[in-house]
Each structure stands twice: as structure tokens, then as C-alpha cells.
């Protein structure tokens, strides 16, 4: 199974209206070349799931500025004024989720769990419309799994079987999203031969990865 693709071959799978997860935290760990390409292709009406909407010129924020999203599901939009503007103008639906809950919801989707039982958000507007559950006298929210059609991941080193090694704080949501989408495409900073990442040090097993773009591709 050869998983290595040109960026064009890989990005062809992203269509208008899809739900797309994008790794990264304020742009750190975001596959910026994929963002470049999506902007060039001008894919529209995306539902974007990520930690935040980055900055106007960095990360997911560039897709917002280019008006390619109809909805975002994130924990924070404060660093990108354009997200707030579109939200207030009714051009963009914004769903805000506590960061740790968002991480667990994506993990739950990848791990086949039916939901997440978390204390976060109890007694706040986050609990509105959510199922609650009492366990040992304490109240928790039941938060549902979050999946996507496509996950766009960034790895520092990726081998040709799709095993990924992340660098420093660029890891963040990437390993979680790699488990929670129908199609997982990774942007490799460095594409390496199988064996160059020690089996102990693989952070995302290649079994989750469908396509790899990087190196000369």
C-alpha cells in the first residue's frame, strides 16, 4: 500500500461542504501547505474542527479570512478578529467547546467510546441542552464524540507507512484527529524511510494514516 501522494492527489478528496479537522494550536502544528492548497482551490462551505481559528495570517485563520468555512467547532477564536466579525454578521456559525472536552470528544470518536463524562462546564452555559449524569453524587455532562470526513495532520517526521513523530508543542490535537476521520492526510515536514522512526517512538501509528504528502511530493 503506497500512501505517498502529491499534494494535488491528496487534496482532491476535500470537497465543498465537508467536515474537516485541522491539527494545530494557534498555527503551531497546523499543516500550512494544505491550507495554502485549499485556499488556492477555494473549497467552500467547510465545517472546520480545530483548537482555535489561529491568526488571520496563520493556521486555520487563513481559511476563515478567505470565507471558506460555514461553521467552526473550536475552543477559542480570540486571536482572529475576523472569526468574531463573521460570527456577529451571521456569516459563520461558531461552536465553542472547552478545550479539554474538545480533545476528549475527538478521542472518543477515534476510540469507539459513546461519549465523554466530564465535570467541565457544569453550572455554565456549556451545559445547555446536554444530557447530565450523576455519578457518586457528582454531576457530569455527557459530551458526544466528534468525527470528521477528513483530518489534516502535520508531522515532523513521517515514514512511508504513515508512522508519525511530532516535534515539541506541534503535537497538540494532531494525534487525536488522526484517529477520528474517515480520511487522514498527513503533511510531512520530513518524509523518511520505514525504520527511521524507532517503533518505541512512533506517536501516531501508520495504521491511522491514509495519505502522506511531503518531501518532493
Amino acid at each position: 500500500m503506497d500512501k505517498v501522494r502529491t499534494i494535488k492527489e491528496a487534496m482532491e478528496h476535500i470537497k465543498d461542504g465537508m467536515t474537516v479537522m485541522v491539527g494545530g494550536f494557534l498555527g503551531t502544528g497546523t499543516p500550512e501547505k494544505f491550507i495554502d492548497y485549499l485556499i488556492e482551490k477555494n473549497v467552500k462551505d467547510l465545517t472546520i474542527i480545530g483548537n482555535d481559528t489561529g491568526f488571520p495570517d496563520r493556521g486555520i485563520g487563513r481559511l476563515i479570512v478567505n470565507k471558506q468555512a460555514k461553521k467552526v467547532i473550536v475552543s477559542h477564536i480570540g486571536t482572529n478578529p475576523e472569526t468574531g466579525r463573521q460570527m456577529h454578521a451571521g456569516e459563520l456559525e461558531v461552536v465553542l467547546i472547552p478545550q479539554g472536552t474538545l480533545a476528549e470528544q475527538i478521542r472518543a470518536a477515534g476510540a469507539g467510546l459513546g461519549g465523554v463524562i466530564t465535570p467541565t462546564g457544569v453550572g455554565t452555559i456549556v451545559e445547555e441542552g446536554k444530557q447530565k449524569i450523576e455519578i457518586n453524587g457528582k454531576t457530569y455532562l455527557v459530551e458526544l464524540p466528534i468525527r470528521a470526513d477528513v483530518a489534516l495532520i502535520k508531522g515532523a517526521k513521517v515514514d512511508k507507512k504513515g508512522n508519525i513523530y511530532y516535534h515539541h508543542a506541534a503535537r497538540n490535537f494532531n494525534p487525536l484527529m488522526a484517529m477520528a476521520a474517515d480520511l487522514v492526510i498527513v503533511e510531512a515536514e520530513e518524509l523518511v524511510e520505514v525504520g527511521e522512526i524507532h517503533p518505541n517512538d512512533v506517536m501516531t501509528p501508520g495504521i491511522f494514516v491514509d495519505m502522506i504528502v511531503g518531501g518532493e511530493a
Binding site: 473550536v74 475552543s75 465535570p119 508543542a169
Partner: protein, 219 residues
């Protein structure tokens, strides 16, 4: 009195114990790291995925992929460790953070905190704040006592909450307050203020501790 932010940061720093895992919010709370007493080693947690965060990186010496949760380039301390966002919040939600220090828009005498949105005006999102306030063992609000004279320490928060009943301590330039079952107790007061000054700047019902101490702000 001296620099208000410095006074607050210094006093908060005294709450930290050797080996504590601490998460500091953006802004004033970040200053706390500068005043940790000699001989006390704390471990800073950054919700974007590591422990062992060091001071801000010098200009020109930024390290690739090494920023804090506000996107600012930082450094690492010896023994640092990176992990993904699920682990980062397992640490936070699981009670492995000994203390979190955050600012507030409002905080009330029941320990409710509002610091993430002003409806119709400012909706940045809660980021990791809700998890931090629910999960950390000790929640310390570090802020100026009022917003240009308007009380921020209230009987009951009017803005959307970050978390209900989770605040343990409030540190301002006027003093130190602790949230208890009995209510909000003023335990320390800054020497530049009287109890009446503090009461006047506070909307909440303030119980004055019979053991009221001077707020210690020396180095």
C-alpha cells in the same frame, strides 16, 4: 504603594510549594513565575501540551514549535515533557495541576468565576479555562481589585460563568480573600488600605478574619 501587578504576582507566588505543577494564565498571572521564592521549584504546565515551561524566549532565540498557550515563544526547563492535548487536559482535569492562577472579569463570594465572555461584546471562547478552573486543586484569581473603580468581586456573578464554585482564593492589590462555606473571608490586607477601603471596593459580603494579617509583599 508599589506596582500593583507586581504586588499581586509576588503574593500569589508565596502560595506555591516546592514541586507544585502550576498553570499560569496569560497576562498578570504569567508574572507570578518571576517571584517564586528561592528554593522553591515549580513546574509550569502549558495547556498546548507540555510541562517544564521556562521563561519567554529572547528575541532571535525562538525555538521552533515551542510556544505557550498564548502563542508566545518560550523556553524549556530541564526535565520538560511534551504530550498531546488529551494528555494535557487529563493532567488538568485529573487534578494533577496543584494550582492555576487566572484573571477574572467577575468573581463572587460563592467562588463562581466569570472570565471568558461578555455577551454581544467579547466572545473569545473559553479555551482551556473551564477545564483548568474545574480541574486544578487550587484556583487562585489574581487581578486588580476593581475595574477602574467598578467592583469585580460580587455577591453573584452576572456574566456567563467559567465554572461554578471552584475559586479558592482571590489576590488583589488590596488584600487576600479566601472562599469558604461561610462566605468570602478577607484574611490579609495591604498596609496601604483600611478594611473600610476594601469593603467599599467590594460588592460581595466580606467577612473580616479575626486573624486579619498584613499582606506580605516583600521579596
Amino acid at each position: 504603594m508599589g506596582n500593583v501587578r507586581e504586588i499581586i504576582a509576588k503574593r500569589v507566588a508565596q502560595e506555591l510549594k516546592d514541586g507544585d505543577v502550576v498553570n499560569l494564565g496569560i497576562g498578570l498571572p504569567t508574572l507570578v513565575a518571576n517571584y517564586v521564592p528561592e528554593g522553591i521549584d515549580i513546574i509550569l504546565q502549558s495547556e498546548n501540551g507540555f510541562v517544564g515551561m521556562g521563561p519567554q524566549a529572547e528575541a532571535g532565540k525562538e525555538i521552533k514549535d515551542l510556544v505557550n498557550a498564548g502563542g508566545v515563544s518560550v523556553t524549556l526547563q530541564p526535565g520538560a515533557a511534551f504530550f498531546d492535548s488529551a494528555m494535557s487536559f487529563a493532567i488538568i482535569r485529573g487534578g494533577h495541576v496543584d494550582a492555576t492562577v487566572l484573571g477574572a472579569l467577575q468573581v463572587d463570594q460563592k467562588g463562581n468565576l466569570a472570565n471568558w465572555m461578555i455577551p454581544g461584546k467579547m466572545v473569545p471562547g473559553m479555551g482551556g479555562a473551564m477545564d483548568l478552573v474545574s480541574g486544578a486543586k487550587k484556583v487562585i484569581v489574581a487581578m486588580e481589585h476593581t475595574a477602574k473603580g467598578t467592583p469585580k468581586i460580587l455577591k453573584e456573578c452576572t456574566l456567563p460563568l467559567t465554572a461554578a464554585g471552584e475559586v479558592d482564593m482571590i489576590v488583589t492589590e488590596m488584600g487576600v480573600m479566601v472562599v469558604t462555606k461561610e462566605g468570602l473571608i478577607l484574611t490579609e490586607i495591604h498596609p496601604d488600605y483600611t478594611v473600610e477601603d476594601v469593603k467599599a471596593a467590594t460588592e460581595a459580603d466580606l467577612i473580616i478574619s479575626p486573624d486579619l494579617k498584613m499582606m506580605s509583599v516583600s521579596d
